[in-house]
């Protein structure tokens, strides 16, 4: 293996890993806030990708210009999901853990069915894009521009999420995470914070979805695979930890790229799953999880 190959593998792992990290950040945010694993996370990603593809076809605008629209749309969807379903699931008296798992799971099946009904089962992709199919190369290392742009946008969105956590709202989020009952005593509306948390989480996955759509095909089932990687990333990084999501996302991306290179591409996920299981043996709450 030449140095170029090594660099190429490392770089493509890094680019993909940053996208994984943003998808996982949305999941981790929601989990950290209210102890819910959103099993419809992959379907939110799929919806964002469809929104991008359809807007692109209708307006002819570059996906980069659609980012704000999709992000706001996903934010609203996230808030709606909380208001209509998750808020109720939190109020359940019995079997709360299972109700939460299976409510989001039923939602995932519902969204997948709705997408199949509305868009059919065909693969679709973005037609108009400034960056489409262009590559730059440094020495012998080729970098596809859509992937590069996607990972940079994801990095910026990630920084924005971290920035939000330093604002007044971010501190309210953190306080609600620490003790959801005590915050009511100091005048924080828990329900509102939870709803905004869902909005932010959905917006994060929305941004990742828009950028992913610039170089990845869309179908009603595209979410499942990315969701699985997101769960692994969040569990590896530690549920609720943003830093953990970033580190674990990049780690997963790298392991996937290396496994695909060393073993067969069809086994590329075995490597990341194995790393995840090994880490969990040593640190059951993930790399950055609170013990």
């Amino acid at each position: 293996m030449t140095l170029d190959t090594v660099l190429q593998v490392a770089l493509s792992g890094l680019l993909m890993g940053l996208i994984y990290a943003l998808v996982a950040a949305g999941l981790s945010l929601i989990f950290g806030l209210m102890d819910i694993v959103n099993f419809a996370h992959g379907e939110l990603l799929m919806l964002a990708m469809y929104a991008t593809v359809l807007l692109n076809a209708a307006t002819g605008l570059d996906p980069l210009l659609q980012l704000p629209v999709v992000a706001v749309g996903m934010f609203v969807l996230g808030v709606l999901i909380y208001r209509c379903l998750i808020g109720r699931a939190l109020g359940v008296q019995f079997n709360r853990g299972m109700v939460q798992i299976f409510v989001t799971f039923g939602l995932a099946i519902f969204i997948r069915g709705a997408a199949q009904l509305a868009f059919g089962g065909d693969f679709r992709s973005v037609n108009v894009s400034w960056l489409g199919n262009k590559t730059v190369h440094f020495g012998g290392v080729y970098v596809p521009l859509p992937q590069l742009a996607a990972s940079l946008v994801c990095l910026v969105a990630f920084a924005a999420l971290l920035g939000i956590s330093r604002t007044e709202f971010g501190r309210a989020l953190e306080a609600t995470r620490e003790d959801r009952d005590a915050v009511a005593l100091i005048g924080i509306d828990r329900d509102r914070i939870f709803a905004l948390g869902w909005g932010l989480g959905a917006a994060a996955v929305g941004i990742a979805g828009t950028m992913l759509a610039t170089f990845y095909y869309v179908s009603p089932t595209v979410g499942a695979n990315f969701a699985l990687i997101a769960y692994v990333t969040v569990a590896l990084g530690g549920f609720g930890s943003m830093t953990g999501a970033l580190v674990a996302g990049v780690l997963i991306g790298e392991v996937e790229a290396v496994t695909a290179q060393v073993l067969e591409p069809s086994l590329k996920q075995v490597g990341m799953f194995a790393i995840y299981l090994v880490v969990l043996m040593v640190r059951p709450r993930g790399l950055f999880g609170k013990i």
Partner: protein, 331 residues
């Protein structure tokens, strides 16, 4: 006396169990329609599988989303034994069960150190690893899968072409067996320990309940019966590949009837299966053509039941909670 009322309730449940068994045994006799027969067989099979899941997920509170692995292992072990060694599935299914139990122990050894969502996610991942390995494993047919050769009508190989009736009784025996096991566990010392582990690990430990061995025992029994269910399924459909027996969707299909019917209850898996399996099969048959409506109905039903009846559909029937345990949530 407290004990007397518990004993009486357990005896009543056993009587109810026998009555249901008789009803289910007579049920297919007047039915000539193959589609309906198939529907009933699948419903009873899922009731049994879900009861097997319930032993670990319901009574011991470990929400496994990787039971598809044991189901697939069971299907593959009995089929491989039949195809390459000629061992009939009536014997092979017990080998499958033992391999399934060992697999559940191997998965449990590392995973039971994890709690709550960490455990659930880990089981998803382990199931997915199993799927990927079988998909690339040439010895078991890789992505092409395995055909079960037909050796003529016989009970030893559980092969029946002219009628579905024998299979009805095979799956009924399987479901009844899992029910009896759950019934025995409910009243046993193990059952009480497991429910203590589910409801409050710390309190259980303080009462000298050995938490890890309890989880391992529940996992082994659960894996054993799930694998037997997989072996029966393989004989029923006659063809298996990783997508049809190891896909992660199976893990959820196995858990759902118990969860929506009433987790940690004797009747939950059967009630849940009676609602879910015909719904999913009928909507797929009659509305699958429109693409997606079937999934929307199925998904919507799951959401509505989970929110409206968090303790499960059995609570509608006025069946009381299981012996001696609160229905508190494991989180």
């Amino acid at each position: 006396m407290m004990t007397n009322s518990i004993l009486r309730r357990r005896r009543n449940e056993l009587v109810a169990g026998v009555l249901v068994l008789i009803i289910l045994a007579v049920l297919p006799l007047p039915i000539r329609d193959v589609y309906t027969q198939n529907l009933i067989i699948l419903t009873i099979l899922y009731a049994g599988l879900s009861q097997a899941w319930n032993i670990l997920g319901g009574y011991c509170g470990q929400i496994s989303l990787g039971h598809g692995l044991y189901f697939g292992i069971g299907a593959y072990v009995s089929t491989m034994l039949f195809v390459s060694a000629g061992i009939p599935p009536t014997i092979g299914m017990f080998a499958a069960g033992i391999v399934g139990a060992v697999a559940a122990l191997l998965v449990g050894w590392p995973c039971f150190r994890l709690s709550g969502h960490y455990y659930a996610i880990a089981t998803v991942v382990v199931g997915e690893i199993g799927y990927l390995l079988f998909l690339n494993w040439d010895f078991v047919g890789a992505a092409t899968g395995l055909y079960v050769p037909f050796h003529g009508e016989n009970w030893a190989a559980l092969q029946f072409r002219t009628s579905k009736l024998p299979f009805h009784y095979v799956v009924l025996a399987f479901a009844a067996l899992t029910w009896i096991v759950a019934w025995v566990i409910e009243g046993s010392r193990w059952g009480y320990s497991w429910r203590a582990v589910r409801d409050d690990v710390t309190a259980a430990r303080s009462l000298a309940v050995r938490v890890f061995p309890s989880k391992m025992a529940a996992a082994a029994i659960s894996g054993f019966f799930t694998a037997i269910g997989g072996a029966i399924y393989a004989q029923y459909v006659g063809y298996i590949d990783p997508d049809s027996v190891l896909a992660s969707s199976f893990s959820v299909l196995i858990a759902l009837p118990a969860v929506l019917g009433g987790v940690g209850t004797l009747w939950g898996p059967l009630v849940g299966a009676i609602v879910l399996i015909p719904t999913s099969e009928l909507t797929r048959s009659y509305m699958g053509g429109a693409g997606g409506i079937d999934l929307m109905i199925y998904g919507g039903l799951i959401v509505v039941i989970a929110l409206a009846r968090p303790t499960g559909l059995v609570s509608l029937l006025g069946i009381r909670k299981q012996v001696g345990g609160a229905n508190a949530a494991p989180t």
